[in-house]
Symmetry: C2
Amino acid sequence: MAHEEHREIVQDIKKQMPDTDTLFELADFFKVFGDSTRIRIMCALFERELSVCCIADIVGMEQSTVSHQLRVLRQENLVKVRREGKQSYYSLEDEHIQKIFEMGLEHILE
Amino acid sequence: MAHEEHREIVQDIKKQMPDTDTLFELADFFKVFGDSTRIRIMCALFERELSVCCIADIVGMEQSTVSHQLRVLRQENLVKVRREGKQSYYSLEDEHIQKIFEMGLEHILE
DNA sequence: TGAACGTATGAACAAGTGTTCATACGATAC
DNA sequence: GTATCGTATGAACACTTGTTCATACGTTCA
């Protein structure tokens, strides 16, 4: 490939890409989906809101582990909390999550 | 919450969830999206197939870094290679990727 | 043949991440 | 008040991950 052509292609693609900050944010967003514990927590929440100890039982991990991961999910606006007495009930923030989840499933089941 | 009710909920949710192996695979799949270098590589490939050195220039990283990451993308069937002379041209495997990408964008731009 | 180029890969290192333990906090029940 | 329960959080640790350097491989061209 000629150097000139190479430079043109690089410039062209660079122009059409979203700005770098957005792509870094996007990576951080997907990072949240990239852990099996968090994926299982989100999956459990597809059905209904759940307390922390319920989630811990479902995924078979320590309460503190689940609590730490719920914090991560909260920070990326993937879940919301509702307090009721001693318990915290978590639920999914919106239905984007379920769609992204399903698209991922489609891909790996090919 | 009564112990009985707790147990029922846990059993119920467990039944409705995909099996654990699938969810682990899914996490591994999303893990690939969770790195800014890989995200930028995929994003660059939305337009057209590109050689390794072009990609390196676009994302502003070493050729070996890009090569390592392309290997990861290949292993998860996200990109495919076509060799032509000294060059390797990479392109996206399918259009799921772009859709997942766009859904992620939608979420963070809210 | 040898040199130059594009690419792939292994080793090494730094940085990041997930889990557990211990503990603190807040609310309820006694 | 104290005890108990559910939850949150900090520290410590092992483990994973991304990048770079050095180098090897394969192809083209002289």
